[in-house]
């Protein structure tokens, strides 16, 4: 070694740039997008297609609405108000997702040990992690905003520079919730251990979403479409003119965009937006400098020691006493992992809300409240309800059954090296997912059909179909889950959000469509019989339709499960 400078005289090393700090993130994302996985071309094509359909639909709806609104006298005011409300909704989503993301990126990410141990200045680390948090939390909101803002630009003649104005408005707009999310997380982690915080916040977020969904449903927004809802036009206009809240950055961002579209030169919203975002970043940085070290240290200590579900585990163990030890323990293991992981069981809350909203919607249908509705319409609604219930069940299978193979994740070595047959594993996972799904399917179908006062024939068709469809959809979910596993995801809710989940949903919806198309034959015959008042007779065509439905569902179930077993056998971690 050459001359050694006393430590007290040494200068801090040159700091890495923000770009360098974020290199692993964007390089990783790039590598993932370039990875030569099987079926990548088809995957990209499908994503592009779905994206194009979504964007076209969102743009089309916005464009039509804005076009209509712009012809009215209060058009610009109304459009401005709508943009404010849209931005307010975006902010709510951004705040929640930023808090959740900030916990991961500031306290739980795998690269943190390396970064915290490196001589990186705390403010630089804060900025890098803030950018990461904002990026992760905001990309989806921005993707949704693009078609909406494009419609604004086109309807109100935004001109060539409009996209730049939008970008200029969106940067501080997404940065603000990110700084707030990071700050809230920082304070919370200093009070509670990070792992508990994430559980707590997952619950809070789910509660908020569930509450919002319930509130929206109970408020019955469809009543707003009734003219008697507007009591005073003057009151309505006054409400439109007044900003929702002049202190909200959502209003400044909306004003910045609308001022451009209205050719109003008002620098105030721009100044407010940028100075506030700047101030928040600096304040957030200051808070980070004060609290991060302690918080990070605390976040490394907290892990759950409380063991949930010891008593019911014993009961379940006794209940499953007839099974072989491997099957029983495998089943118990899956149940324990589900109920001990808040990111998993908390989804049941959303499921409950979804169920209540669904049944409430059916009950709110004006079929039996006013004039008498023809029997034909009631039957048609019952039949459509079957399709909707099937869709809901497919979505639930995507959330609960699809991830089950991926959840074996890093422990797959244990299963692969043990004499447990993959067919045993998959059958256990299949029934564990299917039995609750079947109970739910029959419950939804019977309750909604009772509310719809469906005939015995329609009840039988609906219940039979939904049982067969549930069996097939669960098998499909398991099969696609085995073909498109995500072994490295920590959050189960993220597993079905990829390509495999999308393909599963498309396949199960296609299956549902096919079943409904085949069943249209007996249902049509039944309706004609009812309409013209002649007895409904069983014909060979009806029998063939029924047999086809059974055969398709059984074949889908068996083939999917076999393919899943084959795929598991071929898997090499």
């Amino acid at each position: 070694m050459s001359e050694v400078l006393p430590v007290a005289l040494r200068l801090p090393p040159p700091q890495p740039s923000l770009g360098q700090l974020l290199t692993p993130k964007w390089r990783g994302a790039l590598a993932r997008s370039r990875s030569e996985e099987r079926g990548r071309g088809a995957r990209l094509l499908l994503f592009a297609l779905v994206g194009a359909v979504f964007w076209t639909a969102a743009f089309g709806i916005c464009y039509r609405v804005l076009r209509y609104v712009s012809t009215q006298e209060i058009g610009v005011l109304l459009a401005s108000k709508m943009l404010g409300i849209i931005f307010l909704a975006f902010t709510a989503i951004l705040l929640l997702s930023n808090i959740i993301t900030a916990i991961s990126s500031f306290f739980l990410a795998r690269d943190l040990d390396l970064l915290v141990a490196a001589p990186v200045h705390w403010f630089r680390l804060y900025l890098a992690k803030l950018a990461e948090t904002a990026g992760h939390s905001s990309w989806m909101v921005i993707l949704i905003a693009v078609p909406i803002l494009t419609a604004y630009g086109m309807v109100f003649d935004g001109g060539m520079l409009f996209p730049f104005v939008v970008i200029a408005a969106l940067i501080p707009f997404v940065l603000l919730p990110a700084t707030i999310g990071a700050a809230v997380t920082l304070v919370l982690v200093n009070v509670f251990p990070a792992r508990r915080i994430r559980d707590l916040l997952t619950l809070v977020m789910l509660g908020a979403v569930a509450g919002l969904a319930l509130l929206l449903r109970v408020l019955r927004p469809e009543q707003l479409a009734r003219p008697e809802g507007f009591q005073s036009l003057v009151e309505f206009l006054e409400l439109l003119r007044a900003p929702t809240n002049p202190f909200l950055p959502t209003e400044w961002a909306a004003d910045m965009i609308m001022n451009w579209l209205r050719h109003v030169a008002d620098p105030l919203p721009v100044a407010l937006l940028y100075t506030t975002a700047g101030a928040f970043v600096i304040l957030g940085g200051w808070l980070h400098g004060r609290l991060f070290r302690d918080g990070y240290s605390k976040s490394q200590e907290g892990s759950e020691k409380f063991v949930r579900g010891v008593t019911w585990s014993r009961w379940l163990s006794r209940l499953a006493g007839g099974l072989s030890p491997a099957r029983r323990e495998f089943l118990l293991k899956d149940v324990r992992l589900f109920f001990r992981d808040p990111s998993q069981w908390s989804q049941l809350i959303l499921l409950g809300v979804l169920l209540v909203v669904y049944i409430f919607n059916i009950q709110s249908l004006p079929l039996f409240s006013g004039e008498e509705v023809p029997f034909f319409l009631v039957t048609a609604v019952t039949f459509l309800n079957l399709g909707l219930a099937g869709f809901v069940l497919a979505a639930i299978a995507a959330r609960f059954v699809f991830p089950s193979v991926s959840l074996e994740g890093r422990q797959l070595w244990l299963i692969q090296s043990s004499p447990l047959e993959f067919s045993t594993l998959l059958i256990s996972k299949y029934w564990l997912g299917t039995v609750p799904l079947l109970v739910l399917a029959v419950f939804i179908t019977v309750v909604t059909n009772l509310l719809l006062q469906a005939s015995a024939f329609m009840m039988a068709v609906s219940v039979g179909t939904i049982i067969l469809f549930t069996l097939a959809a669960a098998a499909l979910a398991l099969c696609f889950g085995a073909y498109y596993p995500k072994f490295n995801t920590e959050n189960a809710a993220q597993i079905p959000t990829g390509f495999g989940g999308l393909v599963f949903m498309m396949s199960s919806i296609s299956l549902l469509g096919l079943l409904i198309a085949i069943e249209a034959i007996p249902v049509g015959a039944y309706l004609r019989a009812q309409q013209f008042d002649y007895p409904f007779r069983f014909t060979p065509l009806l029998g063939l339709a029924g047999l086809s439905v059974v055969a398709i569902c059984v074949a889908t179930t068996v083939i999917s499960l076999r393919l899943a077993v084959r795929r598991m056998q071929a898997l090499e971690e």
Binding site: F330, K333, R336, W413, S418
Partner: protein
């Protein structure tokens, strides 16, 4: 007990294991050495039937693994290098689960689990979720669970990583006792002193190929190296240290 015959594993164009053959006799503690990336873990994962060989055969007790996979898996206890366990199971639940995977349950398993957890000093933590375990505790839990079904062969990848000196000593004693009672251990390790002190036979591989194999005496004779330590032998066989590189590192 373990026969590896012309084993090959390719990942695309990369050959991780290249025509590898060696035999582990029953009742032997067999050391499996090699530099990083030599193909040790890949070979052991193929023996544990986690990975499928591109070609070649693995025989356990004279039977090819593909012929009776379930029976052969039942004979093996595999201990991976990375202790991934289910975070939301307690230590006791995990051992019980692994025993059940091997078709074992009841009082025998409970008794054996208690003994194993006691040996590795995990009894105080047996009813706590494994997410609160340290790396070493997880490693010990996996080792304990691998012994739960009384395997005839233990395939163990880097068992000493993360273990405190006392646990490392316990493990060494356990392996010696196990081998003394007729068990067979195939162990990969980078700790050459441990390999030299514990193993009956040693294989050294590099780039997926066998460089040398035998007892310490046989290895020395093969390389005509007199009384050389295993470390010196290993370094010479695998290419030695590059002292010029070191100079370059510290020159200003």
């Amino acid at each position: 007990m373990i026969e590896v015959v012309n084993l090959v594993k390719r990942y695309g164009k990369f050959t991780a294991v290249d025509n590898l053959s060696f035999t582990v006799p029953p009742g032997t503690l067999y050391g499996f050495l090699g530099p990083n990336g030599a193909g040790k873990t890949t070979t052991m994962r193929m023996i544990a039937q986690i990975l499928r060989p591109t070609s070649g055969d693995i025989l356990i007790g004279g039977v090819p693994t593909w012929e009776k996979p379930q029976v052969i898996k039942q004979m093996i206890g595999y201990i991976p290098d990375r202790p991934y366990v289910y975070d939301k199971l307690t230590g006791a639940e995990f051992v019980r689960f692994v025993a059940a995977l091997y078709g074992q349950e009841g009082n025998t398993v409970e008794r054996r689990m208690n003994e194993l957890l006691e040996v590795f000093e995990l009894t105080p933590w047996r009813d706590e979720l494994t997410e609160s375990y340290s790396h070493g505790m997880r490693q010990k839990l996996i080792i304990a669970s691998a012994f739960a079904h009384r395997p005839e062969v233990i395939v163990v990848d880097e068992p000493m990583v993360g273990l405190d000196p006392k646990s490392a000593r316990t493990l060494k004693d356990l392996f010696r006792e196990y081998v003394g009672r007729g068990g067979t251990v195939l162990m990969s390790t980078h700790t050459l002193e441990i390999a030299e002190g514990m193993c009956d036979r040693i294989a050294i591989i590099q780039r997926g190929q066998l460089l040398a194999e035998g007892t310490m005496g046989e290895l020395r004779a093969q390389s005509a190296s007199g009384d050389e330590s295993l470390e010196a032998l290993f370094l010479r066989l695998t290419g030695g240290l590059r002292e010029t590189t070191m100079d370059a590192l510290f020159d200003e």
